[in-house]
Symmetry: C2
Subunit: 274 residues, 2 copies
C-alpha cells in the first residue's frame, strides 16, 4: 500500500462532483479548497462556451485535466452511429478549445443489441474518430463502466475489455480511464491495471456506499465505503501513472449540502483515504 498523500498537488475535482455550483462559483471554491486540477463536464461549460471557459481557467490556478464526456456510440441504425461520430468530433474540438488534453468516453449501451456487437461498434467508432483526435491534439480515454450500467450506459464493463480494445485500436491517441467505482469488485483488477501500463490517461476516485440506495447518484466520499482506494492507487502508480487523481462523486445527498464545506471534506478525505 502506498503512503498517504501529503499535499493536494494531484487533487482534481470533476465539476459534476459539485453539480449545483456554476463554473464561476466552482473555480474560486476549488482554489480555496486547495484543489489543483479541474475536469469539466459539458453541462458546466455550456452556459459560457469553451472559449470563455478556457479564458476563465487560464486566469485561475487550476489545470484542466479532462472533458467529460464523449462516447455513446452503439445504435441500431447506421445514421445514428454516424451522428454519434459527428457529435464526438465536436466534443474533441470543444476539448481542444478548452485546453483539455483528454476526452473521457462513456462508450454507450442500448438494450436492442447484444453486448458483443455493441463493443464492435464502439471499437469501429473510436477507430473512425482517432484521426480527428490526433489532429486536435486530444487523447481519448475509454472508461469501463460497472456492469450494472451494461443495459444503458456502457457495453464496456471491465478493464479487460477496455485493455483489449486499446490493444486492438493500436493508437497512442487511445487509452483508459480507471474509475475505482466501476472496477473495484473485479478480481482481475490488479493484473489488468498492470496490463494498462503506459495507457492510463485518468484515475477517478470516490467510494461505494453500503448500502447503495441509488444506482446513479449515491456515490460516497472516499473512506465512507468499501473500496480499497489506497491499494488500487498503489497499483495504478506501479503501472506508471502519476497524474491527477480525480474526485468524481455523484450524490443527491452530497449535492444538497453546502458545497464549500463539501470541498473541504473532499480534501480531507483525499489526504486520509486516497
Amino acid at each position: 500500500m502506498p503512503d498517504q498523500l501529503t499535499d493536494t498537488s494531484r487533487l482534481c475535482v470533476h465539476t459534476m462532483t459539485t453539480k449545483p455550483l456554476d463554473l464561476k462559483e466552482a473555480i474560486p471554491a476549488y482554489e480555496a479548497a486547495g484543489v489543483k486540477g479541474i475536469t469539466l463536464w459539458r453541462e458546466h461549460v455550456e452556459p459560457y462556451g469553451p472559449k470563455e471557459v478556457a479564458k476563465m481557467l487560464k486566469d485561475s490556478g487550476l489545470k484542466t485535466v479532462s472533458l467529460c464526456r464523449g462516447g455513446f456510440f452503439p445504435a441500431t441504425a447506421g445514421m445514428a452511429r454516424e451522428q454519434a461520430r459527428t457529435d464526438n468530433r465536436k466534443i474533441i474540438d470543444e476539448a481542444a478549445e478548452l485546453g483539455a488534453p483528454v476526452v473521457v468516453l462513456v462508450c454507450g449501451a442500448i438494450p436492442d443489441l447484444d453486448l458483443k456487437t455493441q463493443r464492435q461498434q464502439i471499437a469501429e467508432a473510436i477507430h473512425a474518430i482517432v484521426p480527428h483526435a490526433k489532429g486536435a491534439g486530444v487523447k481519448l480515454a475509454i472508461e469501463p463502466l460497472h456492469p450494472m450500467y451494461a443495459g444503458d450506459r456502457s457495453a464496456v464493463t471491465t478493464m479487460d475489455q477496455a485493455n483489449n480494445m486499446i490493444l486492438q485500436l493500436g493508437s497512442e491517441q487511445v487509452g483508459i480511464a480507471i474509475d475505482v467505482y466501476h472496477v473495484w469488485w473485479d478480481h482481475f483488477l490488479k493484473a489488468e491495471i498492470e496490463r494498462a501500463t503506459g495507457t492510463i490517461m485518468a484515475f477517478h476516485v470516490c467510494d461505494w456506499r453500503v448500502p447503495t440506495r441509488d444506482m446513479l447518484n449515491d456515490r460516497a466520499v472516499m473512506g465512507n465505503g468499501c473500496i480499497p482506494i489506497n491499494e488500487i492507487r498503489g497499483w495504478v502508480e506501479k503501472a506508471g501513472f502519476h497524474g491527477f487523481i480525480e474526485v468524481e462523486i455523484f450524490s443527491d445527498e452530497l449535492w444538497a449540502m453546502d458545497q464549500e464545506r463539501y470541498l473541504k471534506r473532499i480534501k480531507n478525505a483525499y489526504l486520509k483515504h486516497v
Copy 2:
C-alpha cells in the same frame, strides 16, 4: 438458439416472485397457472413450519425445486462465522424436511473485509458444512451475484469465481445456481457455463429492465428487458442441464398487481421468451 418451450413442464416459480401471496394462496394459484415446480423462500415457509409445508406440497401437483436461501458466511469475528455455519446447518435440515433437494447459497459480503479474504471464508464455510449437507441428502448451489451486490450480498460476483470454488471444494454436494440477472453482462459467460457442465443445480430467469430504477426490486418479466435469455438457456442445456427453469423476479411494481394475473403473464412470457 434453442426452440421455444412448448409446455410448462419445466416451469418453476419462486415464492418470492409472488411475495404478497401466503403459501396457502400461492400453491393453488401456481397450479391454476400451469406451474409445475416451486422454489420456497424461508419467509413463506416460516408461518407453517417445514413439516406442514412438506405436507401441503405433497398434496399438490407441485414439485419442490429448491430452498432459498442459505449463505451469508463472511464476518470479521470467528464467533459470527461459526454462527453462520450453524445457521446454514439448520437451513439444510429445513430443506431435508421440506423435501427440497437443493439449498441456494447467497454467499454474503460485508464492507469491512477485502473480497479475496471473504471468498476464502466462504469456501471454508461451505467446506465445513458439506458433511452435514451430505448426511441430509441436500445439495448446495453457489449463486454468483451481480457485482453491484459485492458490497453487501455476495463476494462471489462471477461464474468464474463460483466455478473455481466448486473445483476447489471438489464435492459432488456443491454446484452452481445460474441466474441470468446476475451474469448476463459477463463476456466469459458462454465459456463459464460450458465449464460448469455437470455442476449446474439451478437455472433462474427474469429480465433486466432498462432503465433499472432500483438495485433490488426492479427486475422485469422475461422479454421486458435486455437479457438474451433464450441464448443463455441454449448454453445451459448444452452444458447438460434440463431441470426446472425457475422464475425469480423481485419487483415492487409487479408485487402490486393482481398476482393471479401476474402468474398468467409469467407463463406466457416463459413460453415466448425463455
